[in-house]
């Protein structure tokens, strides 16, 4: 029998969860850095937050500690608020500048 399938039959191991979390986070970082559309950048940030959430619950499950799960709720809450505010800002920026390209929104400097 395939040892991978064997391992899965005993339950998904910790390392896979963490690997998934790391991959998601890395994707978020890359999106954050290379995407030009403000909304995509914003979504990348959400992706990073949720990647972190995944590792939180993973460890919470591993150590049988509830703290990690509580923390996830906090992160979700902040993310929700941030989404509301962030989207509002994006709409305001779009109305003012008629563009969402981050390279062209560069007036916040000396």
């Amino acid at each position: 029998m395939n040892p991978f399938v064997q391992a899965l039959q005993q339950g998904v191991p910790l390392s896979l969860y963490l690997l998934l979390s790391a991959v998601l986070f890395a994707l978020g970082v890359v999106g954050f850095l290379i995407k030009r559309n403000l909304i995509t950048v914003f979504m990348s940030i959400e992706l990073m937050l949720n990647a972190v959430n995944l590792s939180f619950v993973t460890f919470a499950h591993q150590w049988h500690a509830v703290k990690g799960q509580i923390f996830v709720f906090f992160v979700m809450m902040v993310a929700a608020a941030e989404a509301a505010v962030g989207l509002a800002i994006i709409i305001a920026v779009f109305r003012a500048r008629a563009t969402l390209a981050v390279d062209r929104i560069d007036l916040m400097k000396l």
Binding site: F32, V102, D103, L107, K109
Partner: protein
């Protein structure tokens, strides 16, 4: 136990007047400002009179009123204590009494000035500090008053501050006084080091308890105090500010620069006389300074053409007389002369002010003349003052000047020299006062353009009162005056018990009146009978005349020896080297570094969101690297060992 006399009211009433007029006076009607300004000194005078009434009755002098502790630090203990004794009583009467008269006069003299409220605020402020100075029970409180009158003097000399000469004169007075004040301060430190106290009564008690305490430290202290006194009382070598102080309004010259403030030095020496009594050397210096100043200033006064400057040099000269009196330990005679001088010199200044007022601001004696009929009351009051200062019997100046000359004559061999200088000064004084009198009031008017008018009653009333005081102020006589002051200043020797007895006193008096008459006679010849002769005399000795007319070039010498070097040092060393090169260089270096750093770091803030994101990620990556990489073992691999804290 004495009842409280509320001595604190004496300084605080004028202070209240100052605060009121100083803050609100600008917006109030003139009559209201005048009322406040005149009521304050009048109320103070009433409190003083009440004290006099008690003083002659049941009150035990000295009477001390303490209003809490000012400084209490280790050995140093200083109270807000006011002392009323015979000496401060006399001074208070003069300060508040003459002060009140001059306030009335000012109401007329300054009526058309812009800064009317400001003038009276300053004048009240002066009275506050002057009475504080007089009442102070310790040297530090006296110093507060001492500095305060200096401030008021500065403000009032520079009252017409738009005039450069007035502003400069104010600065000069302040700076020259500062030199004297350093002496006073050092003297206070020495008093504190020697006696552990600044309270006059304690110092006197400690001196009395230690009859062997004499010598260096006391002489040094006394000389330091003398430096302070020469500054405030315009004695050699610090007299130069007083003639320039005539830039101020004339009533100010009368009150501050003739009658009261400039006598503070004499008062201070009399107040600390126990110290001087122990140091014959210091006392000798006081006498020499006094005699030298008296003669020196009198010679300058001979040729001045500005009416106020003649009076200013006369003031310096008369203050020299008072110092001469102090220097021969005749403190009562000095205070006596202080009092009579306050009367007739204030009168002289006020009458001169009336003349100036009547002529529309003219101060040059050469452009006056023939005013006897035009300004009759001014003329008669001024005549009283001129005869008083010249020392004619039986006017006030005769008694006090005679007392000083007599005591000087009795003061050993050196006293004869001092007496002789005093007599010569009396001759010169008589001459230049009659010169002023003739030039102002006699002959024909030398300026036909002006139409003189007599001053308002508010100016003439104080003149009249002061004229009465100038005539009668000396009748109390030095014996009674000295006996009154003797609890404070020590007993006055009775002429009958001294060598020469009463006859010597008469002889000296006759000589004094004789030289006064001689001065009058010469002035009469020069300025009435042969008006051309002064010019001929000046032409005959041009060098001597030039020397006197230029005041011995003292201002020029001071400028060359002191002011110029200090200015040069300030400009070349302090300004160019220290300020521009060192301080400026350091500031330039610091500023340059910051702005260069800013220019470099500014590029970081590009405004580009993605560059921020990149920096953020890089930073997070660096932190991750820092945490995850086992640096200790990596370095160990490179052969570097780090001592781990806690291991």
């Amino acid at each position: 136990m004495n009842d409280s006399l509320h001595l604190w009211l004496i300084p605080l009433l004028p202070f209240a007047g100052f605060l009121f007029n100083g803050t609100l006076g600008r917006k109030l009607p003139k009559a209201f400002v005048t009322a406040i300004a005149l009521l304050a000194p009048l109320a103070s005078f009433a409190v003083v009179l009440n004290a006099v009434r008690s003083g002659t009755g049941s009150l035990v002098l000295p009477h001390v009123e303490t209003h809490g502790t000012w400084i209490n630090a280790g050995l140093l203990h200083i109270d807000f204590s006011f002392v009323l004794d015979q000496l401060s009583l006399i001074m208070l009467l003069v300060v508040t009494g003459v002060g009140f008269l001059i306030h009335i006069y000012s109401a007329g003299y300054m009526a058309h000035e812009d800064g009317y409220w400001r003038y009276f605020a300053y004048l009240n402020l002066f009275l506050f500090f002057m009475t504080l100075l007089v009442l102070a029970g310790n040297a530090l409180l006296m110093f507060v008053g001492w500095e305060g009158v200096g401030l008021a003097s500065y403000l009032l000399i520079g009252f017409w501050f738009q005039k450069t000469s007035a502003a400069d004169a104010g600065k000069k007075a302040f700076i020259v006084n500062r030199i004297g004040d350093v002496g006073f301060l050092i003297g206070m430190f020495l008093l504190l080091a020697t006696f552990g106290s600044l309270t006059f009564s304690e110092i006197a008690a400690k001196l009395a308890a230690n009859p062997n305490l004499t010598g260096g430290i006391l002489t040094t202290t006394a000389l330091c105090l003398l430096i302070g006194a020469t500054g405030k009382s315009a004695q050699l070598p610090l007299y130069v500010w007083l003639p320039d102080a005539m830039e101020g309004p004339t009533p100010v010259s009368a009150l501050i620069h003739a009658a009261t403030m400039v006598t503070a030095g004499v008062y201070m020496i009399a107040r600390t006389h126990v110290l001087f009594d122990r140091s014959p050397f210091a006392l000798g210096i006081v006498a020499i300074v006094g005699a030298a100043t008296a003669l020196f200033a009198a010679t300058i006064g001979l040729v001045q053409t500005d009416i106020k400057r003649v009076l200013a040099y006369s003031t310096v000269s008369q203050l020299g007389y008072m110092f001469l009196g102090c220097g021969v330990a005749a403190y009562s005679a000095a205070i006596f002369h202080l009092m009579t001088h306050a009367f007739f010199k204030a009168l002289l200044f006020l009458a001169a002010g009336s003349v100036i007022h009547g002529l529309g601001g003219e101060q040059d004696l050469r452009k006056m003349g023939g005013l006897r009929k035009k300004l009759p009351i001014t003329f008669w009051t001024m005549t009283a003052a001129v005869f008083a200062i010249a020392g004619f019997f039986p006017l006030a100046g005769f008694f006090s000047k005679d007392a000083i000359l007599y005591e000087a004559f009795q003061h050993g061999d050196s006293g004869k020299v001092l007496w002789f200088i005093g007599v010569v000064t009396a001759l010169l004084t008589s001459f230049y006062m009659f010169r002023l009198w003739y030039l102002t009031f006699f002959g024909e008017s030398r300026n036909p353009d002006v139409h003189p008018h007599e001053s308002p009653w508010s100016m003439l009333a104080p003149l009249t009162i002061l004229a009465v005081l100038s005539i009668a102020g000396g009748w109390i006589g030095i014996e009674r005056f000295g006996a009154f002051l003797s609890p404070v200043l020590g007993p006055v020797a009775d002429p009958a018990s001294l060598s020469g007895g009463k006859q010597l006193d008469y002889v000296l008096s006759i000589i004094a009146v004789g030289v006064a008459a001689l001065g009058w006679f010469v002035a009469d010849r020069f300025y009435r009978q042969r008006p051309g002769s002064p010019a001929r005399l000046a032409a005959a000795v041009p060098a001597g005349y030039k020397l006197l007319a230029n005041k011995y070039f003292v201002d020029e010498i001071y400028s060359f020896a002191i002011v110029k070097p200090i200015l040069g040092l300030s400009k070349y060393l302090l300004e160019w080297v220290v300020d521009v090169a060192i301080l400026g260089g350091v500031a330039w270096l610091l500023g340059g570094t910051a702005s260069l750093g800013g220019a470099l770091l500014q590029r970081w803030q590009s405004g580009n969101l993605r560059s921020y994101a990149a920096w953020l990620t890089l930073g997070a990556a660096a932190l991750l690297l820092f945490v995850l990489v086992p640096w200790a073992s990596v370095l160990a691999g490179l052969g570097i060992h780090i001592a781990m804290a806690g291991h």
